[in-house]
Amino acid sequence: MSELTLTIIRLGFLAVLWLFVITAVSVMRSDLFGRRVAPRPSGKKAAAAPTAKNARPVKEAKPPKPAKGKRGVPSSLVVTQGALSGTTVRLAESAVTLGRSQDSTIVLDDDYVSSRHARVFPRDGQWFVEDLGSTNGTYLDRTKVSGAMPVKIGMPIRIGKTVVELRK
């Protein structure tokens, strides 16, 4: 091996090492400065947005088909609004509890939520929601929950600022 070749290899290796660093940093840039988010099609707000001043045509993602009324066994509980939005809990045989206390399945850090607020549980293949005597109440779709009420897939359950729903 000649001296020259070895020097070229040596410097080349350092250059490649730094190229890796630069690549990693450029990947990270996207979440330092945020990435462009396509507007979410959600009811009135989204319907108004494209007409407002969005000159650039935005290719909209197809809105997910509403799961309303579809029969089937839900497999997860999804938080769709509130501080925890995006959290999913896999449903098994056992009940899911929601509230401010640390032993709840979903711990909600929200002043409008009681420490043991509500419970979602299965019975005979059907999921029910039950209010556990909370101060501000639990709402299933638009009705206040009293006793155990059956929950269908996609029906929003409101607890304080948080909304959860069952998903297939």
Binding site: L17, M28, G43, K44, T87, R90
Partner: protein, 463 residues
């Protein structure tokens, strides 16, 4: 899926960077061979294929079980691991040369076992990602993790299986394998710290008295930090392991700060650290030795004796200079334990300041991704755990590099993923698996709410 969306898929980005990191690892291996023998190493294709299969397995696991996890973490880790393998191999070659020169038997090579440990690490990485589908499950094992962590930490003290190597009693030897249980204890204790502080942080943050502009906690709330302090001092006294002791206490104080946002905990922690260090220094000869080596490294009495390793490491890095001697062309083998504690000196000599900086930036990237995950994840336990995992890596890198460059006294920790050592490598792969699991939860896009909700009216009463 259109082209742009496919490009933005984190897993595709990751695959691209993974190939890149594999290429760099192979280039390092090849240039060691070229410099040493003047030709490409013989087993290169097999080695590259093996390493590729391992890293691809890790990648495919992420694709299947953690789709939204961070794309930069895995390639960064594989790069460091691959580079470490090449440098350890290079030090093996130097040791073999020396043995032939002196006409003695060559010491057993360190690179093949390190490769085996890499495989074990990746397998555990896969097991953790498949087994732990949701990091919140770990919160249920808060106190189990504490027991497991303390048990592992104390295991080397058990007579019969614990062994003392180089003055530190941190090894266990079972069936011919030696292992440092303290490395796994680190992860267990992190789970415990996170789980414990999530529950207790309100008490620790809110009950306080204000003295001279600083919120001081009540005396009875000092319990946990005193226990952590005493435990890390116990590690120092009975196992004579400076590094683990420092790491353990530092991570606890950092998590306490993250959980409570109270500056007073940092001040109390620093105060306890200072007093603990002083007591340890005045009572124990092995701590005094370390401080003496650090302060008087170039004293004539020390240079050929106690500080030989440190000074040779410094000379090595000085020889490397800005651009380094080139892989396989320096003499990093002069430094004792060049492939574990002093691997940074070997990198500094052969890759120079430029290479060392690149390596440190990559560690910085890993830590940044961890802290970023901690900010982004929604649940409090995940936040604390991710912050703890990331900070423990950062502290470990600081302690090792600081020790080798004589910024702080030497403590004898390993460089994560780079140094030779199975226990460290394996537990760091587990650590990264947990970090990726949390990162998957943090980066998962929020589901769209059902349309019917928009008109919903509820009345909210605040009491």
């Amino acid at each position: 899926m259109n082209a742009a969306a496919r490009l933005r898929n984190p897993r595709n980005v990751e695959l691209g960077m993974l190939v890149f990191s594999l290429v760099i690892a192979m280039a390092a291996y090849a240039s060691v061979g070229l410099a040493h023998d003047g030709q490409l190493p013989a087993g290169m294709v097999g080695y590259g294929a093996g390493l590729g299969v391992l890293f691809l397995a890790a990648h495919l696991t992420l694709r299947r079980f953690a789709r939204d996890a961070d794309p930069v973490l895995l390639p960064s880790v594989t790069l460091i691991n691959g580079l470490g393998l090449a440098i350890i191999h290079r030090l093996d070659l130097a040791a073999a040369d020396r043995a032939t020169r002196l006409g003695i038997d060559a010491p057993s090579a360190a690179a093949p076992p390190q490769l085996t440990w890499t495989a074990v690490g990746v397998i555990l990485f896969v097991v953790v990602l498949v087994g732990v589908r949701d990091h919140r499950v770990l919160q249920r094992f808060t106190y189990t993790a504490m027991l497991a962590g303390l048990g592992l930490l104390l295991l080397p003290l058990v007579p019969g299986i614990g062994t003392t190597i180089n003055g530190a009693r941190i090894w266990i030897r079972v069936a011919g394998f030696s292992f440092q249980p303290g490395e796994l204890a680190k992860i267990c204790l992190l789970v415990f710290f996170a789980g414990y502080l999530v529950v207790k942080r309100d008490v620790l943050a809110l009950a306080s008295r204000r003295v001279a502009g600083v919120d001081l906690p009540r005396a009875r709330d000092l319990g946990p930090i005193l226990v952590a302090w005493a435990a890390s001092l116990a590690v120092l006294v009975f196992e004579r392991d400076l590094g683990t002791s420092l790491l353990f206490f530092g991570v606890f104080v950092a998590l306490l700060y993250v959980a409570t946002e109270r500056l007073s905990w940092l001040l109390i922690g620093l105060g306890l650290f200072a007093s603990g260090s002083f007591v340890a220094w005045s009572l124990f000869s092995h701590v005094q030795d370390r401080v003496d080596i650090w302060l008087h490294a170039f004293a004539p009495d020390n240079v050929g004796d106690s500080s030989y390793q440190l000074v040779q490491g410094l000379f090595g890095m000085g020889t490397g200079g800005i651009l380094g001697k080139g892989l396989g062309q320096g003499r990093p083998d002069i430094v004792p334990y060049a492939n574990t504690d002093f691997i940074i000196a070997a990198v500094g000599e052969e890759l120079g300041l430029t290479g060392l900086m690149a390596l440190l930036v990559i560690y910085g990237i890993i830590v940044q991704r961890g802290l970023r995950t901690s900010i982004a994840v929604r649940d409090a336990f995940g936040k604390l755990l991710a912050a703890g995992l990331a900070f423990s890596l950062a502290l470990q890198v600081f302690v090792v590099v600081g020790g080798v460059t004589r910024l702080i006294p030497l403590t004898g920790l390993t460089m994560p993923f780079l140094s030779y050592g199975g226990s460290s490598l394996v537990s760091n792969w587990v650590l990264i698996a947990l970090l990726l699991r949390i990162s998957d939860a943090a980066r998962r896009p929020a589901p769209t709410p059902s349309a019917s909700l928009q008109d919903a009216r509820t009345q909210v009463v605040r009491l």
